[in-house]
Structure formats: structure tokens, C-alpha cells
Amino acid sequence: MRRSAVSYLTALVVSVLSLALAGCGGGGGGQEQAGGRQEPIARNPQNASKKVTVGAKNFTEQYVLGEIYSQALEAAGYDVDKQLNVGSEVLAFKALREGEIDAYPEYTGTVLTNFYRVPAREVPRDAQEAYAEARKRLRTDRVTAMPITPFDNSYVLGATRKTAERLRATTTSQLAPKARDLRITGYPECRQRLDCFVGIERAYDMDFKEFVASENTYEVLDQDEADIGFLFTTDGQLATGKYRTFRDDKDFFPPYNVSFLVRDQAARSLGPEAQRVIERVQRPLTDRAMVELNSRVVVDKQRPEDVARQYLREEGFVR
């Protein structure tokens, strides 16, 4: 009796393990070994006639993602044209719908709050649910939303270590009563954006002393020209350890995972292989990985296309 119980248990454990392993294996172009390097993306000569224009919005993470997706598709043999500085989300989405670009990486939170005017409060806080909602809405605009990345690049308030210690706050709510005496900094348009300064002041009922606009939030914090900064959870500068972030305890911000948006028409002509390539290449993009890639651009001052190439090589997608 005991022996069969053990053997049943063993069988159960083995099957669970192999299911789990199978779950992280799979995907196009070859078998992956869980816990090891990826298999290189196989070039399919039949893809050479399939053109795709990949776009990206106008900041570091977008350039890096745009390059990663473009180079991955190129490795698979597609004919890729890069337009990696399309502008803000409004312009990028417009370009996508009008066919000026075929695809670009967009954040699920942005899709729902900016394109479909869903109030931030009502966006599901679970990443997959938010993605499902975004995908549903995008169908009405004939856009296919590919499965999301592991990383979530959300807004977060932060400060230098010294300031954070001085303020003795670890969450945004703890910061709220002190806001009256604090200067906050962010990129210029943040001051007038609902999904940035305007929104967070309202959500936490804060009234900051001053909004300092700049092109480099971290520089402003370093120079003590402001106390608190509007940061992003995958900012490259966070890798230096010089800054502390304040937890968004009121859960003001929705999820911001990236989904590679593709026009329906383009998705059909590129075929399911393209989706498999995209899903494979983005799988190692955890929060930590994204911070590392972003920091290579903003801290080490390397070019996004070189950083993307390094990522693909180090992960084994490309030789």
C-alpha cells in the first residue's frame, strides 16, 4: 500500500514537473531547454517576401524593444523596415491604424486609459486580465495584440536614498501629507498628463509645492533641484542603487506590460510564425532584464540597436 502510494506520488510529481517544463518549452523555431540558453531563431527563406514596418514611440525602452523585435524578425528572414521614432502614443497608434507602420510595442495600461478612455480605476490590476481587455478593444480597430511581456513598466514616485531616508516614507500614501513642501520633477508634458502628474495628485490627494520640468529626472534629483521624481519601474538609472522608490499602495497605476500590436492585415500576411518569434524573443524580458537593457543605454550610453543585438546574442537567439 505504502509502496504504491509512493510510486503514485512519484508519478504525480514527475508528470507535474514535465508539464511545467513543457509549459516553458515550446514556441517556434526549436526546443528550448528551461533554465538554459535559447535556441537560435531559424531563418525561413519563405519569409523574405514578407515586408513589415516596425515602429516605436519616442523614448529609450521603446527604442530598445523596437530594435529587439525588428532584429528578431529579421533573423527569422522577414523584410523589416524600422521607423523607431514615431512620436507619442497618440501618433504611434494613429500611424498604426492608418497603415504607416505595421506594428509597434504598446503598454496595456496605455491602450486602455489613453486609447479607449477607460478610467484608470476601472482597469483590471491583473496583468493578464488587463491584456485580455485591451486585446478585445483593439479588435474593434482591427489590431492584433500579441501576448504580453513578463515585465511591467509602471510609473512610480522615487527619490535619492538620502531624501527618502529624510522623508521616512516607503509608500506614496506616506508621502502625501508632506507633498506640500516637496518639489516634484518629471519630463515636461508629465505636468499636464492624466496618467502622470495630474492623475497622481488627484488619486492621492496631494498638492506638490512645485513641478520642475526637465529632460533628465535623475539629474534633477541628483542636483537637488527637486525632492521627488516621476520614475518608471524599468528605468535604467534604478540599477545604480542610488534611488529609492515609493510603493504605489493605493494601486493607482494600472498594469503596463508590453504587447506587440500588429495590424490585422499585417498579422495575417506575416503568418503565425511571426507571432511565435515575438513570443519567444520577449520571454526573457523580466523587470530585471529590462532594467539592465535600459541602463546599458542611459547609464553606459550605448546605442539601442547595439544593446538589442547584445540581448539577442547573450540570450542565444542570434549567433
Binding site: 519616442n58 523614448f59 512620436g87 507619442s88 501618433l91 504607416e100 515636461p188 520642475v212 529632460e215
Partner: protein, 262 residues
């Protein structure tokens, strides 16, 4: 997020854009990203006032520094190479580089932008004042000496009025430069008419063009106002617009024409 230059893909716009731009200046509307009101006369007036304040202060401070220096150097006839070269050097430094230098090395904020704009305004003022004083007819100065005037009186009552045309030329050059460069103020957290241009994602294409129209009109108005002011201040006898007669004799190597725009 690093904000890029407005390098967005712009669908082929047409004349309609200018109509929308004017509408932006007159009627407030919801921003492109939603949640706030942008545009309209109220906000434009506020931005214009800030822009003008910044510019006027910069030119005023630059005058306070450059005019006395230029008058003195011109009067004693020293520092010619310096006074003339400072304009050549000033012209060679791109205004964007100057602002960027201040943002990167000095800091952001109203005071720092004011400092940068003042530095920008000094060269044309200094050179034009110097050249203007040097161009005063030496005979006029001799006559004044003969009448028993002291040094300070000669500068104030003879050289300054005779040099006024050149000095105003410098003020015009400085003012145009400063008003144009103040557009970059938002990069250093100073709200000016450049705000809709730098924050184009919030203000939209209509805001971008509207601000461009407004700042161009403003610059031309400033220029015309200064021209009118110059006419009012120039002694009647000099208004015929003749070239200062002493100039060629006293600064042989100077290309005097490059010192003045008008």
C-alpha cells in the same frame, strides 16, 4: 522617458492646419492626452507674458553690463580687438548649444535660463556700442573739449546721442536673439511660448503651429517697436540715416556693416 525632438511621422498636413492653429490660440480645448484644458487666449497670454518678462530682463541686464563697458572702451579707444571679436565668437556659438551648456553644467530654472540669455545678449550690445562710439566724428569731440566739457559729459552729451543708432541696432539684434532662444525655456523648466512646442504630445499639432505663429508675430512686433523707439530717441539731425563719418578713420580694420542689421 527621454523626450525626443518632434520627429513624429506627420501625415501630410495642409492649409487647414493654420486655421486649426489660430483656433488653438483663441479657444481652449482638451489636451491630446486628455484630462486638462490647453490653449485659448488665457493660457497664451500667460505664456507670452512669461516669455516677454524673461526676454526683457535678459536684454536689460545685458544692457546694464555691455553699454557702460562699450561706451568706456569706445571713448578711450582701447580693447578694439576684444570688442569686435566678441560678436564674431558670439555668432559662432549656436544658441541651442548655449542653452544645453547651461542645462547640463549649470542647472535648470528661471535664474539659470536668464543667465544664459543674458550671456547671449551681451556680444551684439557690446560691439555695437563700441562701434557706435568710435564712429563719432572726432571733430565733435574736439569741439566739446574746447567748450570745456569733462570726460563724463562728453560721453553722455556727445558720444551717446551720436552713437544711439548703432546702439539700438545692437539692442534689436540682442532682442531678436533672446526672444527666439527663450523658446527653449521649457527644457529648463521655464514656461514660455516654447511650451506647446516642447510638449507637443499634450498640446497637439495645432498647439505647435499656434505657438510658432504667436512667437513669430511677437518677435516682429518687438523689432518694429524697437525701430520706432530708436526713431523717437535719435536726435533729429541724425535721422537722415547718414553713415557716421568718423568710423572709417578710426577703425580701419573693422567691417562696420556686420555690426548692424539695419
Amino acid at each position: 522617458m527621454s523626450v525626443s525632438a518632434p520627429t513624429a511621422l506627420v501625415a501630410q498636413a495642409d492649409r487647414l492646419s493654420f486655421v486649426e492653429a489660430i483656433e488653438f490660440l483663441l479657444v481652449p480645448r482638451e489636451s491630446v492626452t486628455g484630462g486638462v484644458q490647453v490653449g485659448g487666449v488665457g493660457e497664451m497670454l500667460q505664456l507670452t507674458a512669461n516669455h516677454m518678462l524673461l526676454s526683457a530682463l535678459a536684454v536689460a541686464i545685458a544692457c546694464a553690463i555691455a553699454l557702460p563697458l562699450g561706451l568706456w572702451l569706445g571713448h578711450v579707444g582701447r580693447g578694439e580687438f576684444f570688442a569686435v571679436s566678441v560678436s564674431n565668437v558670439g555668432r559662432a556659438v549656436p544658441t541651442l548649444a548655449l542653452i544645453a551648456f547651461f542645462i547640463a553644467f549649470v542647472g535648470i530654472g528661471f535664474a539659470n535660463v536668464l543667465a544664459a540669455l543674458t550671456v547671449l545678449a551681451i556680444p551684439p550690445l557690446l560691439t555695437n556700442t563700441y562701434v557706435g562710439v568710435r564712429g563719432v566724428d572726432p571733430d565733435a569731440v574736439d569741439a566739446a573739449l574746447g567748450m570745456g566739457m569733462g570726460e563724463a559729459q562728453i560721453v553722455r552729451r556727445v558720444e551717446l546721442p551720436l552713437a544711439i543708432r548703432s546702439i539700438f541696432g545692437g539692442v534689436q539684434l540682442a532682442a531678436i536673439s533672446v526672444v527666439a532662444t527663450a523658446i527653449l525655456g521649457p527644457l529648463a523648466s521655464v514656461a514660455t511660448l516654447g511650451t506647446p512646442i516642447v510638449s507637443v504630445n499634450v498640446y497637439g499639432q495645432a498647439g505647435l503651429l499656434g505657438a510658432a505663429i504667436l512667437v513669430a508675430v511677437l518677435a516682429v512686433l518687438v523689432y518694429l517697436a524697437l525701430t520706432a523707439l530708436q526713431r523717437a530717441v535719435t536726435p533729429r539731425g541724425l535721422r537722415a540715416g547718414r553713415e557716421p563719418p568718423g568710423l572709417e578713420r578710426r577703425i580701419p580694420f573693422l567691417d562696420r556693416r556686420s555690426a548692424q542689421p539695419t
